[in-house]
Symmetry: C2
Subunit: 319 residues, 2 copies
Amino acid sequence: MCSLPVPREPLRRVAVTGGTHGNEMSGVYLARHWLQAPGDLQRPSFSATPVLANPAAAAACRRYMDRDLNRTFTSTFLTTKATPDDPYEVTRARELNQLLGPKASGQAFDFILDLHNTTANMGTCLIADSAHNVFAMHLCHHLQLQNPELSCRVFLYQQPGEESYAVHSVAKNGIGLELGPQPQGVLRADIFSRMRALVAAALDFIELFNQGVACPAFEVEAYRIAGTVDFPRTKDGDLAGTVHPRLQDRDFEPLQPGAPIFQMFSGEDVLYEGESTVSPVFINEAAYYEKGIAFIQAEKLTFSVPALPSLTPTPTPVP
Amino acid sequence: MCSLPVPREPLRRVAVTGGTHGNEMSGVYLARHWLQAPGDLQRPSFSATPVLANPAAAAACRRYMDRDLNRTFTSTFLTTKATPDDPYEVTRARELNQLLGPKASGQAFDFILDLHNTTANMGTCLIADSAHNVFAMHLCHHLQLQNPELSCRVFLYQQPGEESYAVHSVAKNGIGLELGPQPQGVLRADIFSRMRALVAAALDFIELFNQGVACPAFEVEAYRIAGTVDFPRTKDGDLAGTVHPRLQDRDFEPLQPGAPIFQMFSGEDVLYEGESTVSPVFINEAAYYEKGIAFIQAEKLTFSVPALPSLTPTPTPVP
């Protein structure tokens, strides 16, 4: 497995983005809090920048105004000439690309930590684009080691050949934190505290790296997308049933062929017809109804992550 | 305690309304299902009418488009002359008042059962306007006896001297079913099945009454509103903290003076300063943030409900 280059300089330009989806309240309120009181985000070698990513959607307590901001950081949206009729999130993605990027440029931020909630029973999930990102994998590993009680799972969301589209893809490195279950529009203290502690631990890891700490190679277990499954629907496209009680809340547990996945309104069960055992994730996530996703089929994999070498002091240039 | 008159005729015009709030999915999908397949709603003496109360909000998966429909059935909204600029829900309330009312008239429906979900851990809650409504109290008692495992609680929402404003107030009798916890925009099979079974039991009770069954007097325990408590807020009106982990999910459990109710983002706890023990309900309900309600303080009361006499056959009029 090829690896992306690891940082050769300290990470000094770090952003923590909340409210990318305006009704995922942990990130909305952490970002608002830190914009007033940024003390949590300061470390000796850097101060992370808090960003309320989608302020209009946060004000309206909606996921988005016109389109999903976290699917809008592609070159098509970021580089097309602006017009007055652009959807709000396209305009906002360009603003964030100016503030935190430009994406894929040398001027981009070093790291973005993007905060999310899900209505699914996902616990603590660390979302990275791919296993090739060695720095992100070491950060995830650090969070796992620091929080053994949380069973932090690593989910790789990017499919082969697919362009990255999430807000954290604007920076040179980044991950998303996905904590659940929490209803849209509700701020639970337990999840708020957990997210705050995870952000602190992530910034601590960046500080350790900046101070020259090296990290040895390790083996990691992760999940990656194998497919999606839609709800059963009527001929008009409306729901004809919903997630079966025996699947509901069982994110990351093995789903075997023949197990019930849906309960129809007419009463009968729908069984899983896949050929092999998968790990369902984002089961019955509110925001995915409109995307035609009742759950994502993930496959579990284990792979080796190479060592993260210590930063070597930059030699003083000879005049 | 004075009692409202009990029905003297069989209840034949019965409606089951779902989607009064368009993101409370149990009622939205039960109404949609019954509009296609109304078999569940048929009894020997009547067939209940399914109604998707707020179709625009249900299509958008939002609580409402312009204003809360379930606060719009007051005489001011129902009787003011219509204009093209009326909020969507005002227009819709008038339509429902034509279909199911007019409110407080002899032509009104006999009964409305209105279906709701909450993000709070309310379990199964039966919402009636007041204890004076003998028929509604007997229906609630029947649901309690039929479903002892559900601990159905009775909540009296109308405050003294307050005009009724809910959709079920359009009919001569009515109650709301409030089931939770369920996130907005999510359809959980367990809650869907529970709501469906409760609707069936409610219709069975109406059928029993229509068949001439009498019900003896009984004592009932219920909760009624004693006040509301807002979140702690900044000087700009934004949240400064959220519901304390020791209060979260403890709807209907006694809250004593001095117990923690909020956890501030700055870290400290806010304690309950009331003078007596109350029962908090609708704790951390998503839809109530904008209403300035972190939870409702309810007081528990026990009262007697008089017998519900059997319907006597109407004498054939002498020509």
